[in-house]
């Protein structure tokens, strides 16, 4: 992690205590785009549609014994077409660190974002680091 990257803007995302060791969580990056390219649309409990742009959903994985210990990729599974990757299992396939989609089990490389089963799909990868107890996104 290079804190001195001068052009980068550092956006605090969440606290270290929000992360789950050995697993993933999702965080919202308000400044971002809606990463799936889909149009917005939502549904409240009272049944009305709303359409406020939400920003980018980021899946954060925390592997305390690993170096680096923090990984961030898009939460959107382009094959299953839902925001679920933070809920996948992390592991290695031929030493490549991957997350398995909880929907249909394709593997996405946590460093490059490439889908191992179908290289037509690549998910966005984010640079993140820890600043004291804060998880910081570099944009």
């Amino acid at each position: 992690m290079n804190l001195a990257a001068t052009t980068a803007k550092a956006v605090p995302l969440c606290q270290l205590s929000d992360l789950i060791p050995g697993s993933g969580v999702a965080a919202l990056y308000q400044g971002g785009q809606n990463q799936s390219g889909q149009n917005q649309g939502g549904h409240n409990k009272d049944g009305k549609q709303k359409s406020a742009p939400q920003g980018e959903q980021i899946a954060l994985f925390y592997l305390p014994d690993n170096n680096p210990s923090l990984y961030a990729v898009s939460n959107y599974d382009p094959i299953g077409r839902a925001n679920v990757l933070s809920r996948g299992i992390v592991g290695t396939i031929n030493t490549r660190l991957v997350v398995a989609s909880p929907l249909y089990k394709q593997h996405f490389d946590l460093l490059s974002g490439v889908c191992l089963e179908d290289s037509r799909y690549t998910i966005k990868v984010y640079r993140v680091h820890l600043d004291q107890q804060t998880v910081v996104l570099e944009v």
Binding site: L13, C14, D18, L19, I20, P21, G22, S23, V25, A26, A27, L28, Q30, N34, S36, Q38, N39, Q40, G41, G42, H43, K45, G47, Q49, K50, S51, A52, Q54, Q57, L60, L63, D65, N66, Y76, G80, R81, A82, N83, V84, R87, G88, I89, V90, G91, T92, I93, N94, T95, L97, V98, A100, P102, L103, K105, H107
Partner: protein, 842 residues
């Protein structure tokens, strides 16, 4: 005869097992044949060999061989109307209803009829024969008001019939004219051993007893014997041999044998070049073949001949292995072996008897008799059929094996050796498949059909398969994934023996790399849960859990979840039903009744899951484990409490079972059902564990499943009491949990067990591995440490952390969009989502 169509018209008389086999074989060989099959029975062909299982709870539909397959094959089938005349000059047959069917080739497959000895009074009402589904119905109807039943005839079919009467709850007698039971297949000592078994089961055996007369007596019948004694009974079933149905052929001028049977040559053709005969109605070299396998061979030969081939029938080996009243009996070749060298082994305590007759030179097996234990059968049969020279100490062939190792290596068998006699699969055919790339036993089974008949060849098949692979230098990689060079079973064993309680330790000591993957992690999570039963979202376990276990709910296609509260046995109070309705309404959940008698609530956002569960738990619900590889439901019918036919409290039993096994984590999901009587309304035979009530207790079925590859459960034990039922299920489940592969349903697991059902019975009932106490203790631990995972979860802030949609925002995922259909919500399609967005912008 002159015909316009070029297609050969083939008419088959008789739609029994062999006629059916002929039809399907020919349709396969020559699809353009015009085949017509005419059957006297009202139903299409069914599996007569397993007829008696209907008494044990199997449905008649289940025995059907033909199904709707005839339509698909383009075969014309005509049922419930016998052929009454063959007009050989005009090449046509006539049925009783007056239909005429012309033929180019005719195949007679009329089977045989039970022989009823000419005893005065043999036509009283209350006298039956046992061969067809209709016979079975008649016997069943008559037995309702009966207490006693007599079978006349102590042969193979007679004993089978005695078993059926016993299953109907009758006091059962077998009356045999000859001095011993099964005199054809067994020598006197074998016959005596069988008798002791059968008498111990409560069947009364009267040998050397000639019946002189049958009279009506009070409400029932009386048999008067030649020795002056008599026996009173309600019903009598004759099973004194069979007589080939050859009358049609005889009337048409075809040659028949002195004691019946249509004479055929090795092409299965009769004296008339256009007429063939196959199955039990045919006489080849002065012999009738009263078993299904030789009949199938004849059918194949006749079909091949009609298709222009040159196959020949050369007689058949009449060796048999079967279970009579639960007693294993085997007979090979010359059972009596009067002139030959004989080895015998007898265990009077276990009532096991084995005899092996050698040829005069002491080199080859000439015949054998096995009673009480048939483990040696497959091997002896191979020695006999392939004329292999016996080992130096031939007695080892019949002595009980100490560690289950067989003496005969698959290598010693010639390529022509039939490994599966039901489907005539040779060792050569198996090698061929392996050479063509088959590496999986299941694949081999479906490609060759081997081991899908009686199943008796399973162990030998596996042996041959493994040896063949080995000899080709092919090693089967059974590693679960790249991180562990072990099978699931081995990992289970390692964790248990070394007391390993977490993934990291296991990976460090026995695996590779430092992460694992989505294959080994959930598999190990399941093993740890089965062994120690700690909470699956506890500490280190968290990152191991698969999609649904991850948040204790079932993920649906748009990333939302469905929730299933447990409704044990499908029994629910109105208040609880209302409570579910209220929760569904409050969180706007799509609601659907499942096939397992409970209610599934869809479309829950992950952050709502703890709230939904708090409400459900307050209303008295527990987690339904619908997300886990664990016990789902125990479906039940209302049973004797409400139903007019019920004989046991099926709901009570379902509740007991569901509450007992509800927390158990297993290699795959488990479904149970309990039916209150043999009508089987709960469909227990399609479940991993099926329980069907009988007048005396419960019948236990195991290894069934629905889904992609439906499989019927196998009958594991009959008439057992509550405690035995629970003990057996405890052991079976724990044995499954220990030994199955990851994601292996019980059905596939049972198929993969060498020796299948009977091996499982030996482990569970006879404790042949000596592990039952351990299995029960392990289950007791699981039952004793049960916790509702959701209840624990909502009380623990640490666990609740994972249910936040976003760690840094309370927002919902706005990309999850629902629309309404039939008054409930459902996920919007992509088109709908873009349409909605356009509307919102305008």
């Amino acid at each position: 005869m002159h015909r316009s169509s070029d297609n050969q018209k083939v008419v088959v008389v008789g739609n029994g097992m062999v006629g059916h086999h002929f039809v399907t074989t020919l349709a396969d060989l020559q699809p353009d044949c015009e085949i017509t099959v005419i059957g006297a029975e009202p139903t299409p062909a069914y599996d007569r060999v397993h007829l008696s299982e209907v008494f044990a709870g199997r449905s008649p539909e289940d025995l059907s061989l033909a199904g709707d397959g005839y339509d698909k094959l383009g075969v014309l089938a005509h049922h419930g109307d016998p052929v009454v005349e063959i007009d050989v000059d005009n090449q046509a047959v006539k049925t009783r209803a007056g239909q005429t069917y012309p033929y180019d080739k005719l195949v007679i497959a009329t089977g045989s009829t039970p022989f009823v000895p000419p005893i005065p009074g043999n036509d009283h009402p209350g006298c039956f024969v046992y061969r067809t589904l209709e016979d079975l119905d008649a016997i069943r109807r008559a037995s309702r008001d009966a207490t006693t039943g007599v079978v006349i005839g102590g042969g193979l079919l007679g004993l089978e019939c005695a078993n059926a009467l016993k299953n109907l709850g009758l006091e059962t007698h077998v009356v045999e004219f000859a001095p011993g039971l099964m005199g054809v297949q067994l020598d006197p000592d074998g016959s005596q051993t069988l008798r002791r078994h059968i008498e111990e089961l409560g069947v009364r055996v009267h040998t050397s007893t000639a019946t002189e007369q049958i009279q009506g007596h009070h409400q029932g019948l009386r048999l008067n014997f030649a020795d002056g004694n008599h026996l009173d009974t309600d019903i009598i079933v004759f099973s004194a041999g069979i007589r080939p149905n050859d009358q049609l052929a005889q009337a048409a001028g075809l040659e028949v044998g002195e004691r019946g049977g249509i004479v055929i040559n090795s092409a299965c053709r009769t004296g008339n070049p256009h007429i063939y005969a196959v199955g039990e109605c045919a006489l080849f070299q002065q012999r009738i073949f009263g078993l299904v396998a030789p009949g199938y061979r004849m059918a194949e030969v006749a079909a091949d001949q009609l298709a222009g081939g040159t196959s020949e029938f050369s007689g058949a080996d009449m060796s048999t292995k079967l279970k009579l009243l639960g007693v294993e009996v085997g007979s090979i070749g010359d059972a009596h072996g009067t002139a030959s060298l004989a080895y015998t082994y007898a265990d009077p305590v276990q009532k096991i008897y084995a005899r092996m007759n050698l040829t005069e030179d002491g080199q080859k097996v000439a015949g054998a008799v096995l009673v009480g234990n048939c483990d040696a059968y497959d091997q002896l049969l191979q020695y006999f059929v392939n004329e292999i020279s016996v080992p130096e100490c031939p007695e080892q062939l019949i002595l009980p094996t100490v560690n289950g190792d067989s003496v005969l290596s698959a290598d010693a068998l010639p390529d022509s050796a039939a490994i599966c006699s039901c489907h005539n699969v040779t060792k050569g055919a198996i090698s061929q498949h392996i050479a063509e790339g088959c590496r999986d036993l299941g694949e081999l089974k479906s490609a060759t059909k081997a081991s899908t008949g009686c199943g008796g060849c399973a162990a030998l098949l596996k042996n041959v398969f493994d040896r063949q692979l080995e000899s080709l230098g092919i090693e089967i990689d059974t590693s679960i994934c790249e991180h562990f060079a072990h099978t699931r079973q081995e990992l289970f064993h390692i964790c248990q023996v070394e007391g390993i309680t977490d993934f990291a330790t296991l990976l460090g000591k026995h695996g590779r790399g430092s992460h694992g993957c989505d294959i080994c992690k959930p598999a190990v999570a399941s093993i740890l849960a089965s062994l120690y039963n700690s909470h699956i979202l506890e500490g280190q376990n968290v990152g191991l859990q698969d999609t649904n276990d991850h948040l204790l709910a079932n993920m649906q296609k748009n990333g939302t979840y469905s929730v299933v509260p447990r409704i044990p046995g499908g029994e629910i109070t109105p208040d609880k039903l209302i409570a579910i309705g209220q929760v569904a309404k409050q969180y706007d959940l799509y609601t659907k009744i499942t096939g397992g008698q409970r209610i599934d609530l869809f479309g829950a956002h992950m952050q709502d899951l703890p709230l939904i569960w708090r409400d459900l738990i307050d209303a008295g619900f527990e987690t339904g484990h619908a997300y886990g590889k664990s016990l789902r439901t125990v479906k039940s019918c209302v049973g004797s409490t409400w139903c007019r036919y019920g004989v046991q409290d099926s709901v009570g039993m379902a509740l007991l079972l569901e509450n007992r096994y509800k927390g158990l984590r297993s290699p795959h999901k488990l479904k149970f059902a309990v039916s209150g009587c043999t009508r089987e309304c709960a469909e227990a035979q399609s479940k991993d564990v099926g329980v069907i009530a009988t007048d005396k207790g419960w019948n236990l079925f195991v290894g069934g499943n629905g889904g992609m590859r439906p499989r019927h459960a196998e009958l594991f034990a009959t008439d057992i009491d509550d405690a035995t039922l629970v003990a057996y299920i405890d052991r079976i489940l724990m044995f499954y949990v220990r030994t199955a592969d990851r994601l292996q349903r019980t059905s596939v697991w049972m198929e993969s067990l060498e020796g299948g059902l009977s091996y499982l019975q030996q482990v569970i009932i006879d404790d042949c591995l000596g592990i039952n106490a351990e299995l029960e203790a392990q289950m007791a631990h699981i039952v004793g440490t049960y916790q509702c995972e959701w209840k624990t979860t909502i009380q623990d802030p640490e666990k609740l952390k994972r249910f936040r949609q976003f760690v840094n925002s309370d927002a919902a995922d706005t990309q999850v969009v629902f629309v309404r259909e039939r008054a409930q919500k459902r996920p919007a399609t992509e088109e709908e989502i873009s349409l909605l967005a356009v509307e919102a912008q305008s």
